[in-house]
């Protein structure tokens, strides 16, 4: 009995199993980010408490009563603009979904056209390269003049911010279709429809997805710019803008945390989708 216990324990010393093994494996993955984030929050809180900056510290999320309520009750709805942050975020997400879907449809369609047609490419590429450098906020006044209406203007700002990576990557994906594949289509006298669905789209798909992934981040980044033009409608961008107008600094911090978390989730979602599609390739 004694020997067997000894041998078991000596084996577990060398290669732990069960809980110790789990701890050993997760330690490396979780401890450094935990220290990183904890250190950052500590530094922030200290500099706020010591009065080094005017920005409230992270603890203000809990100490400010108004913010604490918003933090713990994201689902309340007292009508109008007095809603929980989850509901604000949902409003923003549906707006982003609309602008982003439009950007995806137009971006992929124009990207394919530009990728297939060299003359069109040369005609439009300088324009695209120029427009994609324009910041979301700069589009706001233009969108308002263009549409004379808040709702479509907000969608347009999201659309015009997020379309370029989709368009440019799709065009590149189509340009990169190997000549061999085109030759196969030529020698088989493949119909345009067959070439499109069986060769062009699958071949360009990884590029299209890269564009879609970059763009979903941009679309979400544009939400504040988009919602500044929409006073009086619920949304996370409006919430932050409104909190700023009222100098509720801790509310702004909470809103920013929501934006960052949702952006991260959206990006992970696209990575997951991309991996699934790539696995199907």
């Amino acid at each position: 009995m004694t020997t067997s216990t000894n041998s078991t324990s000596s084996r577990s010393d060398r290669s732990p199993t069960g809980l110790p093994l789990w701890w050993k494996q997760t330690r490396k993955a979780f401890l450094p980010p935990l220290f990183g984030i904890g250190g950052f929050l500590l530094f922030w809180q200290l500099s706020a408490t010591l009065g080094l900056t005017k920005l409230a510290g992270p603890l203000s999320l809990f100490t400010e009563e108004r913010t604490r309520e918003l933090l713990f009750y994201p689902f309340f709805d007292r009508g109008g603009l007095d809603k929980g942050l989850f509901l604000h975020a949902m409003n923003s997400l549906s707006r982003v979904a609309l602008g982003y879907t439009l950007a995806a449809v137009v971006g992929i369609a124009v990207g394919i056209a530009v990728g297939l047609n060299k003359a069109l490419d040369r005609a439009l590429d300088p324009l695209f390269q120029f427009l994609r450098m324009v910041a979301p906020l700069a589009w706001v006044p233009i969108a308002l003049v263009l549409f004379q209406n808040n709702q479509p203007a907000a969608i347009f700002v999201i659309f015009v911010t997020s379309i370029w990576p989709i368009l440019i990557n799709t065009a590149e994906g189509v340009r990169q279709i190997p000549q061999d594949y085109r030759n196969v289509a030529l020698v088989l006298q493949m119909s345009n429809r067959n070439f499109f669905t069986k060769v062009l789209i699958p071949s360009a798909l990884p590029y299209i997805f890269t564009g879609l992934r970059i763009s979903i981040g941009l679309a979400w980044l544009a939400i504040i710019a988009a919602e500044i033009v929409m006073p009086g409608t619920p949304g996370i961008g409006f919430f932050i803008w409104d909190a700023y107008q009222n100098s509720y600094v801790s509310d702004i911090i909470l809103g920013v945390i929501w934006i960052g978390a949702i952006g991260l989730l959206l990006d992970r979602l696209m990575v997951w989708l991309q991996n699934r599609i790539a696995a199907g390739q």
Binding site: P178, D180, Y181, N183, V184, L186, V187, L188, Q189, M190, S191, N194, K198, V199, P202, S203, G280, Q281
Partner: protein
Amino acid sequence: MPTPDTLARSHAAAGAAAAAQSPLLRFEQLSKVYATPRGPYPVLADINLEVNRGEFVCVIGHSGCGKSTLLNMVSGFATPSSGQVLLDGQPIRLPGPDRMVVFQGYALLPWMTAYDNVHLAIDAVKPQLSEHQKREIAMEHLAMVGLTAAADKRITQLSGGMKQRVAIARALAIRPQVLILDEPFGALDAITKEELQEELLTIWNTQKCTVLMITHDIDEALFLADRLVMMTNGPAAGIGEVLSIDFPRPRSREDIMEDPRYYELRNQALDFLYNRFAHDADAAP
């Protein structure tokens, strides 16, 4: 004085008779000039050749001599600068499935399975067939190259030799009149290469399509071909000599190697390639 009607009929009859006897492919005074920044560069000049129905012809020559250009004018990917290539008396203008190509880099669609690649070709060329027939043809041709078990594997999961087998199955499944192979076995190891050569011969024996094949390998050409076309060096390369290889078919490698004519032919080809038209690096473009 014949009426226009009888004239037309006799003309048609003569045409039909000629088609039965005349070669399937005829290269007539073919030449190709490429425009380069330093002026026009003649790749091929004055190519004249006839290829009979069901003949297996290999083309050999040093790199840069325009072998691929020559075959591209048969497949329709390149157009002659002067002269023409006639298929059944009709000048070739565009690529088409009657002249199927086995591309150098296989050119299979990697996101599809082996079966789907073959099926796609059948579907594009013979859309009128029923799905059942398409499936049967695809499986039959995959079986010919020994890929029945791997039919549902993705191209990315296949080895180089298996990929080339799929490419051959795809090419033959659409029953081309001419099969064009551009150095099909160049990237394969020696053993796979020999296996594939034998498979190609077996299939060719059953289908009897006309084959044009570029190779760098004299032994490969002697084993496979009825005739070996040897090209001179560019610029303005032409056909230097054509060797007739009349070993009886079906051929076995062992029998051919024991035949004294094999070494005669081999020496002739070696002499042509390495003495009379030794590779001159400056001549390449």
